[in-house]
């Protein structure tokens, strides 16, 4: 496993960008055998469909073995749950030159989402419907959270140096398990940077809350694994760069066959634990 860190020079965004674009030989595609074995194991371990969908992102995989003391909280929209969606879309606007700064980008993005919901009524649980009904104070909190997220992302790299090779805020890749599509792997990543268009090599940037911990490498490996699962025709990403804005830390995982194998093992272990816990809850 190879971990790298940016140079401790200022400005940090330039040092992180240097790290992202460091040349490296292209990797192979994800091992087809690993892919087959993982699909088969996950399908065999999938909890019963009536117990609900299982979305295996890094967080779920890392915390699957934690002791569960409280019932799961059902999803609802809040300033916290909207910050990444709106923050990413707004950062994309700034990188593309559509908006001048995060605050104006978030305001424009929210106005667009609300206008779309007015013009094309969406289902009641959709973000647009929720924002349409949100009181002014809630819109303030939503804007504030999204601005903070977008600003963190925009300040993390020198986007002007990356130009058209940077793709910010594309939807997270999701790979549904064949035979058990209610179980899916999700790779939470915020940007993809094309390193070599001909070789299709790329680096992935993932923004994270809090501070790096002992499980951070598992998190970054998971992002690489899902990228490989969802793009079987492309080489594995060269590196996954995790950025923790609250602490100013950056960790770069140079992706390898071993890293994806380890990530696959973590996913299988996590699903096994979740299946057991689900069965126990159901029996109780």
């Amino acid at each position: 496993m190879k971990i790298r860190y940016p140079a401790s020079t200022l400005p940090r965004a330039q040092a992180v960008t240097d790290l992202i674009v460091t040349p490296a030989p292209p990797l192979e595609r994800l091992d087809p055998d690993l892919r087959r074995v993982l699909a088969s194991r996950l399908a065999a371990l999938a909890p019963a469909r009536h117990l609900g969908a299982v979305r295996l992102d890094s967080y779920t995989v890392i915390h699957a073995h934690d002791q569960v003391t409280e019932p799961p909280v059902l999803f609802s929209w809040s300033p916290q749950t909207t910050k990444r969606i709106l923050g990413l879309a707004s950062a994309q606007r700034v990188v593309a030159g559509i908006s001048a700064n995060p605050t104006s980008a978030v305001r424009a993005e929210i106005a667009d989402v609300v206008a779309r919901a007015h013009d094309h009524p969406t289902r009641p649980g959709a973000l647009g419907s929720w924002l349409c009904e949100a009181p002014f104070g809630v819109l303030g909190a939503v804007t504030s959270e999204a601005v903070a997220y977008a600003t963190d992302l925009l300040f993390s790299c020198a986007w002007d140096r990356l130009g058209d090779d940077a793709f910010v805020g594309r939807a997270d890749p999701i790979w549904a398990v064949p035979g058990a599509p209610w179980v899916a792997l999700r790779g939470r990543r915020d940007a993809t940077i094309l390193l070599d268009a001909e070789e299709q090599t790329r680096a992935i940037v993932a923004l994270r809350a809090g501070r790096p911990t002992a499980s951070s490498v598992t998190d970054l490996s998971h992002v690489a694994l899902v990228e490989g699962m969802t793009h079987p025709d492309l080489p594995l990403p060269t590196r996954v760069v995790g950025i923790w804005p609250a602490t100013g830390k950056t960790i770069c995982l140079e992706v390898s066959k071993e890293a994806t194998q380890r990530a696959a093992r973590s996913v299988v272990d996590a699903l096994q634990t979740m299946r057991k816990q689900g069965a126990q809850r159901h029996a109780a």
Binding site: S8, T9, L10, P11, R12, A13, V73, S76, S78, P79, Q80, A100, N101, P102, T103, S104, V106, R107, A134, P135, F136, G137, V138, L139, G140, A141, V142, T143, S144, V147, A148, T151, F155, G210, R211, T213, A214, A246, T247, G248
Partner: protein, 265 residues
């Protein structure tokens, strides 16, 4: 700390005073953050031996500069603080507040982490609720005076969490800043912090701001340009130009507090 602007000197335009003139911004010493970190790591090594990264010891600017353990504020004080904090964020994000209490309460209601505060507010009787609403409105008047005209080109953001892990994550210096302005520093200092309090500015405020500056220096590699604290109760402002002396004093405060807390626990 001679560089501190005396309290009460800035009744308005705290944001303008924070940003100052572009030409007056000090150059950054790129080795300063590393030096301060080494100093802290050395002085905290003994204290950190007994700690584990799984249960880190957390120090905030307030707990660092208070002699005794910080008293737990009443629920009403917490509620007032939370309401004023979301109003500041709203003023920065949207540039206006329509109905202070309604706007702030609806924002808190949408935040699952504020459930207890919201419950406590709803449990108030009519008179107490009206009194709280009047207080919040008065605090918002101060916010309006200071935060209404913050240009979006200054990259304003609210409720920014800062953490500086030390001793392999065994000790965490953390802070949440109400308002941050400016882009990350390159060759000169450019980031400014505004901390809000709904109580009066006490005599420890400048030391707290010093510790806040230290956390940012360790986190970003560059010290902030200026930091200020605004009392929304009185409109008083304490402002600090961040210098090497300020940061050195903050290092001493952190080391002293870590050793004191270590002995107490």
């Amino acid at each position: 700390m001679e560089s501190a602007t005396p309290s009460r000197a800035l009744k308005s335009d705290v944001v303008l005073a924070l940003r100052g003139q572009r030409s007056d911004r000090p150059a950054i010493d790129p080795f300063l953050a590393g030096g301060l970190r080494s100093w802290l790591e050395d002085d905290l090594s003994k204290c950190a031996e007994s700690l584990s990264p799984e249960t880190p010891f957390v120090l905030t600017p307030r707990s660092t500069t208070s002699q005794a353990l910080v008293a737990v504020p009443t629920m009403l004080a917490l509620a007032r603080g939370a309401l004023v904090s979301v109003l500041a964020a709203q003023r920065i994000a949207l540039g206006e507040v329509r109905h202070p209490m309604d706007d702030a309460l609806s924002a808190l209601e949408a935040d699952p982490y504020q459930h207890d505060v919201v419950e406590a507010i709803h449990a108030l009787d009519q008179d107490a609720f009206a009194q709280l609403a009047a207080e919040v409105s008065a605090h918002d008047d101060v916010l309006r005076r200071h935060l209404s005209l913050v240009p979006t080109t200054w990259f304003p953001r609210s409720n920014v969490k800062l953490t500086a892990p030390l001793a392999g994550g065994r000790l965490l210096l953390t802070a949440r800043v109400n308002v941050v302005l400016g882009t990350p520093s390159q060759s000169v200092a450019s980031v400014c912090f505004l901390d809000l309090t709904t109580s009066l500015l006490d005599d420890q405020v400048l030391r707290r701001l010093g510790v806040l500056s230290l956390i940012e220096t360790l986190r970003s590699g560059a010290p902030p340009l200026r930091v200020a604290s605004l009392s929304t109760a009185t409109g008083d402002v304490a402002m600090l130009e961040v210098t090497d002396d300020v940061l050195a004093e903050a290092v001493t405060d952190v080391v002293t507090a870590a050793h004191q807390r270590g002995e107490q626990s």
